[in-house]
């Protein structure tokens, strides 16, 4: 029975995976986009290095900084994006969720496995590209142990990202328009996750708090583990912290979903 349950989600996952072939140009651009954007942002940072006369900023030297920005950009590819929220919003508010509920599948699991393949493929390709790039340019590569920790960190990142996005989508049970919440999340996430600035730029006290918040799990933690800014022992605790937040957030999502379902009516939430 359990095997059958697992099978149907695998089928959804694989079906979506086949769609990759339909969006070849989009996927190619998704993979190239971080390089373009990093090149542009990095040029500003190079100016900052030049005018400040400093060799390191926030613990990163010039090449380390560019590498950090690139890793952060590629980790962001794993995100399902606002499309997932928009689809949930439409289904819940239009009452189309009913069609999903009558199927022998859990709606949240269906959402997860349907949205996962393309970001997952692009993310893995992205990380492979930066690793290959790092090897080509003799950049500092993570050791075997660190690589394993990094992979676990990315898994926690993906689970946390989906919890955030699906959580925002679930707000549709109570609020007709949820996209402003998506934008709010992105804005806060930009600063607190280390996408705009590595968290090492903050003072020790603030940084130690931020590292263990769920936002850091979305960019800084995996990037810092990859680039060696978090030592191996601490990295293990950081990843455990990431999984802790992933579980807490998913429990909150499931709780909110069950509450929302009670409120849901066939003609809309």
């Amino acid at each position: 029975m359990k095997a059958l349950t697992a099978n149907k989600y695998l089928v959804i996952f694989l079906t979506q995976f086949k769609n990759l072939l339909e969006y070849r140009v989009n996927i190619a651009l998704k993979l190239i986009r971080p390089i373009i954007m990093t090149a542009a942002v990095a040029s500003l940072w190079m100016v900052l290095f030049q005018v400040s006369g400093k060799d390191t900023i926030a613990g990163f030297d010039r090449s380390g900084f560019i590498f950090y920005l690139l890793v952060v950009r590629y980790i962001a590819i794993f995100s399902p994006g606002g499309r997932l929220i928009a689809d949930m919003n439409e289904e819940i508010c239009n009452g189309n969720l009913t069609m999903r509920l009558v199927r022998p599948m859990h709606y949240l699991a269906w959402l997860f496995f349907r949205a996962l393949p393309i970001p997952l493929f692009c993310g893995i390709m992205g990380v492979a590209m930066i690793t290959a790039g790092a090897m080509m340019f003799d950049a500092v590569m993570p050791s075997g142990v660190r690589m394993v920790i990094f992979i676990f960190s990315v898994i926690a990142t993906v689970i946390t990202q989906y919890a955030f996005y699906i959580g925002i989508g679930i707000l549709s049970f109570w609020v007709y328009e949820v996209m402003p919440f998506d934008r709010f999340f992105r804005t806060v996430n930009n600063l607190l996750s280390g996408q705009l600035l590595p968290l090492t730029i903050f003072d020790d006290g603030v940084r130690n708090v931020l590292i263990f918040l769920p936002f850091a799990s979305l960019a800084y933690n995996p990037a810092a583990i990859y680039t060696g800014k978090i030592e191996t022992t601490l990295a293990i605790y950081v990843v455990l912290g990431q999984f802790f937040w992933a579980i807490v957030l998913w429990l909150m999502v499931i709780f909110a979903y069950n509450k929302g379902l009670k409120k849901f009516e066939a003609q809309g939430g």
Partner: protein, 269 residues
């Protein structure tokens, strides 16, 4: 003939605005969340510059007061752009053949497209940006400016809406030739991020790109420089350059629109 058409479209504006007001009054929660999010967005950028400049010092000519002003101008530009942002749907409307609905109406299809979903929520964003600029002019004593410079900066900021909107509209129009233009459109949207950076401090090639190809430099960097660095003659020269760029853009825009429409077929472009 041309004047009549112009007058007819001007007369339609109150109706479009009235429709937009009615729509917004239906979604109050979304409206207020959107405004709150815009304020938070500007706040995050101010915090970003405060932290960064506190750690590494000024970015060339741009110290913290300049960055505050830069954030204000960027917020104004994004506010104006958001008001007419429905153009981002053009690729989808063309692919699905829904452009027909616009073509059969006795109004210019492009104008109808952007006005029918006028985004009034963006007006407070313009207000937030304006407040930031005014407060920075009053609060920071190190910024000296002349009344003439204020007028020129205001004009450049106002016209910068066109210098950013027109290239975006042209990118959306590429759907008539390449079909799925969403990836180009999304890449272009990512470039808007650079309005928040002092583009004059970037390397020369980037300055040329952001002045002539995607003229984001006029959105925030140039108005700040007009107020704090340039002489009135230099400022007028920049205003003239911006007007030349807008003229070229309008010419290209009309050309692409007319050519694109000829390629459009009722079942999609």
């Amino acid at each position: 003939m041309l004047m009549n058409t112009f007058r007819k479209h001007i007369k339609l504006i109150p109706d479009y605005v009235s429709l937009a007001v009615k729509r917004e009054s239906e979604y109050k929660a979304g409206f207020y969340t959107f405004i709150f999010n815009q304020a938070i967005g500007a706040g995050v950028w101010l915090l970003f510059w405060k932290i960064l400049i506190g750690k590494v010092g000024a970015v060339g000519h741009f110290d913290f007061p300049h960055m505050v002003m830069l954030t204000g101008f960027a917020t104004i530009n994004m506010g104006m752009w958001f008001m007419f942002s429905f153009i981002w749907r053009l690729p989808r409307e063309v692919i699905t053949g829904q452009l027909n609905c616009y073509l059969i109406k006795p109004v210019h299809p492009f104008i109808h497209m952007i006005m029918r979903r006028l985004n009034l929520r963006a007006i407070p964003r313009v207000g937030i940006g304006l407040t930031i600029v005014i407060l920075s002019l009053i609060h920071f004593e190190e910024i000296s400016y002349s009344p003439g410079a204020i007028i020129i900066a205001a004009l450049i900021s106002l016209f910068s809406f066109l210098t950013t909107f027109l290239p975006f509209a042209m990118v959306c129009m590429s759907v008539f030739w390449i079909g799925r233009a969403e990836f180009l459109r999304d890449l272009f949207i990512e470039f808007f991020l650079f309005q928040n950076y002092p583009l004059s401090e970037f390397p020369g090639s980037f300055i040329v790109f952001f002045s002539a190809i995607i003229p984001l430099i006029f959105a925030s960097t140039v108005p700040v420089l007009v107020l704090t660095k340039f002489t009135q003659t230099q400022a007028l020269g920049l205003l003239a350059a911006q007007l030349v760029i807008i003229t070229v853009q309008i010419f290209l825009f009309r050309l692409l629109w007319n050519k694109g429409l000829k390629r459009y077929e009722s079942y999609g472009g």
